[in-house]
Assembly symmetry: D2
Homo-oligomer: 399 residues x 4
């Protein structure tokens, strides 16, 4: 949701409709570019509840513009297909019944070609809408829709990786190797003294409602690592029996470990005595110098405990974030996802955007290789349940 107090600024940001139109077209195109490397079949499946079929993402982000912008604001707009609301509504209780989440992968129709027709139809209507004088209360919704689509672009990468990486044939997505940058392993500790700091979004640019309000926090003195934990360091943890030593695990993490028989991060396979990992470029030997990824909160916390350290809080992370390089892995923090002081939800459907998920989830900070350009900032609060591994997550230590 757009922070209401920033509404005027947002308008300034997209001062003229042409800018917003260009931004709309660019972002919408990017979703289709991500999917352009898929086979039709890849658009359809949902191998696990938390993954959605790519065609669903393409349809859902389109439905958002149709439902939140075109229907309420664009005069004379004809709904593409009234049944699509049932199919493409994600979790908006206020906008009627919907396919239950676990059933998304059971729907062969609408076909992929129909979803692209839907996108084309809505894009045409949006272009027309954005080419005219936009009502002032529509603008923030359009901007929200664009950031929303960028969030789904990130999910598209995660979900596509899960779909292909859990296929016994291990098909590759492409050869670009976006996950394979090399990283420094010369960690340094960055020190902060105790005192009052400010966190939360400020200024005139866009943010989600959960980043507001900017507020003071008192932090005790802390040290935070300049570098992410590498695969090599994580292999040390595995080889030291980290997955078999309950002392490092939270109780629910230990239950997760026993239930899933986890022995390594997601996508890791031991083949002829060597650790391999599936990346979007296929199955390869693990590179010890790359940052470890696809670990869940339980694993991140157990690793930190094994090192005699801890994960940073989200406040510590945000305060220190201009002293280290971030943006390749979402970084688990030890902070639960809770409202900031003064947080309020919007009265309309966009009020369901963030607030209702503030329970049983942990905050991640930073961004990842899947994050689209222009979608990251150091106040961004991502959040997932502690057992989930399929995001491009990472570990930064604190002490």
């Amino acid at each position: 949701m757009i922070n209401q107090r920033h509404e005027i600024d947002v308008t300034l940001e997209s001062e003229n409709s042409n800018n917003m139109l260009a931004e709309y077209l660019k972002i919408r195109k990017h979703s289709e570019l991500i999917c352009s490397k898929l086979e039709t079949e890849d658009y359809v499946v949902q191998p696990v509840e938390f993954v959605s079929p790519p065609k669903w993402h393409l349809g859902h982000t389109t439905w958002f513009f149709e439902t939140m912008v075109l229907i309420p604001f664009a005069k004379g707009y004809d709904i593409f297909d009234p049944n699509y609301n049932f199919v493409f509504n994600s979790y908006y209780e206020s906008i009627g019944a919907r396919v239950i989440r676990t059933d998304r992968g059971n729907l062969s129709r609408p076909a992929v070609a129909d979803v692209y027709k839907y996108r084309k139809y809505v894009n045409a209507a949006m272009v027309k809408f954005l080419s005219t004088s936009i009502p002032s209360d529509a603008k923030p919704i359009v901007i929200l829709g664009l950031h929303h689509e960028q969030q789904h672009q990130e999910l598209l990468y995660s979900d596509i990786k899960y779909i292909l990486g859990n296929n016994p044939l291990f098909p590759k997505y492409d050869d670009l190797g976006i996950e394979s940058d090399h990283f420094s392993n010369l960690n340094k500790w960055i020190h902060y003294e105790d005192g009052i700091y400010e966190i939360g979004h400020h200024g005139d640019t866009f943010c989600f409602d959960n980043e507001c309000n900017r507020h003071k926090v008192f932090l005790n003195s802390f040290d935070i690592a300049s570098e992410l934990v590498t695969n090599g360091e994580y292999i040390e943890f595995i080889e030291a029996g980290g997955y078999d030593d309950f002392r490092h695990w939270l109780s629910e993490g230990w239950e997760w470990k026993k239930l899933t028989d986890a022995k390594a991060p997601l996508y890791w396979h031991q083949i002829e005595g060597k650790w391999h990992q599936y990346s979007l470029s296929g199955l390869n030997i693990v590179d010890p110098n790359q940052p470890v990824t696809h670990i869940n909160f339980f694993e991140a916390q157990a690793f930190a405990s094994w090192k005699g350290m801890r994960l940073p809080s989200e406040s510590e992370w945000e305060v220190a974030s201009d002293k280290f390089i971030w943006g390749k892995r979402w970084e688990w923090t030890q902070s639960a996802y809770l409202p900031y002081p003064g947080f309020v939800t919007a009265a309309d459907a966009t009020g369901e955007y963030n607030g209702k998920f503030m329970i049983n989830q942990m905050v991640l900070r930073g961004a990842s290789v899947a994050t689209p350009e222009g979608h990251s900032r150091n106040t961004y609060r991502n959040f997932f349940h502690p057992q989930l591994q399929w995001q491009f997550t990472g570990i930064r230590l604190a002490k």
Copy 2:
């Protein structure tokens, strides 16, 4: 499995390889014809455990010929892709690990085009193999493979109907209306005196191992209906509160009813006060003169109890089957699926074909609109768990 005692006869039946080759090509082509009306996306999904994705059926039947015929008998045959065994093995414990059944719908690859390539490749090898002198122990396996493929053609119809019929858009499969024949509702009772009868397969033609041996049974006198129960009669049962009167239901049937909140056959929907049903030709008002279908054993048994009658045993059905018309609906019997006297399983993988399923299933007799030409006979024993509704089932009463 081929009944070993009929092996010679089978050879006679397909006296020259040309006949067998023609039969092979005809049957293989029919599977692809069934699928030719699908969108690519329809080949992929598995909305419920007991349904398989159409592309899986196409691959699995091909895998059967590759694994059971080409690999052991065709000299110099190169396996198409060694990973396909993992993907397309159904339930053969003797032939290695396999994708668990519930995961079939999670596999976007092999793509549909690759499955067709696989079929083409195996077909070419089979054509070459069948054009030469076939080893005598290979012939029964080829014949079994053809009957096996015909069974999957029947499942293709059931599964496609489930995939399309549970989609909120209710897409139609085609306009042929194969389910919509009109039927006489002038039932007559056919009477048999008590005495010794013979059932089970006899003669020189193919049968599955579970149809053997032909054996004597003693039957008490009985009456069996000349006609199937119609939708109109079934609506009477619904309107008389049949789904809410525990007295007519088996205990596990009543639990099924409460758990699923069933109120009518599968694919029935009450829309504006009228019963509609989804058929392969779309969603239409229920025709009271057509035979009721997509009821499970519990529903069939409850209906019979409500009428003060019962379902026939499979022996009664077989004995009387030349006195009535059958072949449009698989007909539930009151017989559990058990071995006939003297039943033995083969020592090789084909021994897993039937015998190991002889528990907790009920026998259905006859055939259905989905049964391919040449695949029905009055000794055929189909079997399903009592809660399953997605086959083209029907009810014939006895007393």
Copy 3:
């Protein structure tokens, strides 16, 4: 349910009320004798769904007489406590709401002492009722109630064994060793020629409705073992890898095996390399000369398959039963539990006694060490789901 056609005979059997009264008192006392060796705590627990707490058995059998006899037939009878119907109704849909089966072990009240008060109260009313002229339609219900209580005496033994035998302290029930008779292991094959035989209950004595009607069956020639399979023979099966060879198992049996990781009969434990088994007299080394027990249908069937034989049908068993000794172990047959020709259920609540369970269960014949005196006959049809092991079951082979 009482077989209606035998109603007059039943009356003759219990010609005067004094006989019936004596029988009532004797049977009712036996239930309490079985429980007299328990601690109060043992009456309460329900370690698994299919086991009921002993106090529930004591209450339920009492509730049967109160509900089926006293309330409808005894003038001026005051219900002991109207809430008890909710607690002690087992599965009679026609007699109102009831505690769900899995919750029986959650009820600390009524306390054991209260259940005994309930028994005393109902016994007093029954004594009074049976001392007068009993209405002719009440007599069959009283007799049914007595046989019903005897069935629960058998369950009391099974359930008590489960409660104590799954306790980590392995407390013994008593020192009598009722399970430890020695048996001959000199098996002989008893041969029968093919032909028409009669099975089912006949004559004037009591039977359950599922034993009727006596009817003709045609049997093929068969051989049946004079002796039960021993622990020693079963250990051979275990040591030959019987639990790891899928070829001998039904498909659902194999699933059960993998799910439960079964390696031996229920109550068997390998301690320092030796097989021990818990019996009502405590944990002891397995005696190879005693008949194997606490195997389910899947295990019995797999054992028979491993021997190259099969289980007898219930008809074969009944026909041959006067040629061998039986009565120590319930013997699994290869027959599914289905209605006999002409079977009808009673219109009143007793109609729920047997018929509604005729699905997904296998027939056991004979009796067991837990069967009370006077409760066994060779037409008796016991039935359980194929995965259940906690009855005193056994294996007799046929070929």
Copy 4:
């Protein structure tokens, strides 16, 4: 765990062994007093996973002293029964295998009388041990054991209430009415300005490790209610449709609501149009002036949202706690249960006491009618999963 830094003080607190002995005997006796009103049967059952049988609490608290104090510190101590470790270990991974939590209610043995013998035996050994010069590293463990037993006294009340309150006979526990104090409903708002505050335990008295370290927090200005929300106010929420309006619920709370079909707090029943609630004194009409209780976090949060307010954070609560009366209901906060700055876990088994539960739980502050004398302080951090209702919880609003 004892805060190590306070060890010396703890010694001072229990300066001579006589004091500690007297405290030991008093606290141990209190557990037995709570249970003295039970029937033997009530000690045994476990109607739901999160409830433990009372005899288990009695045994487990005794096991704690035996395992943590007597075995390591008391020379010549003979273990009462080595099997009891398996039965009475709760969650200490470091001390071996244990009965899985859901099986606690399946154990009829050890009998209640045996558990009391166990208590007597361990008490005698502890009296002997505490009458001599206690090793300095044993003292903190004894004190921890006493606080541990007090925590189980609170659970005893909650669990006994659940056992009796979910029995269809609604037996009362006693007539004392400890839940029925009348409360003022004249709420006042207590205001605090923003600034740095300190929270966490300080001083020389006992605390659990999770209350340390005392540390600074920055709080924004806030108002907190002087009174708890009453039943009357909660009925307004119910009658305004609060349970049917998704807008007030967290997403997982709404799922909980739909799954359980919750319409009111636990133990509430609508009987002839009036709300009744089960308390330890039986089933009675809800008193509108008493504080609402047995609501979970989801309900507390939804109520606060409906009022346009929120729950306090644990810091706010602690800071303001000397301005209002507390101690009758545990009060939900909006704080997730997380480590305080500088929190460390002990290296020995007591390190499993608190830290490993710091995920997916919400903090409750205060105390309740079930809290034993001397066991409450304003730094105490209780914690439960957000869906649990069976504690004596309450709601205090903030804004």
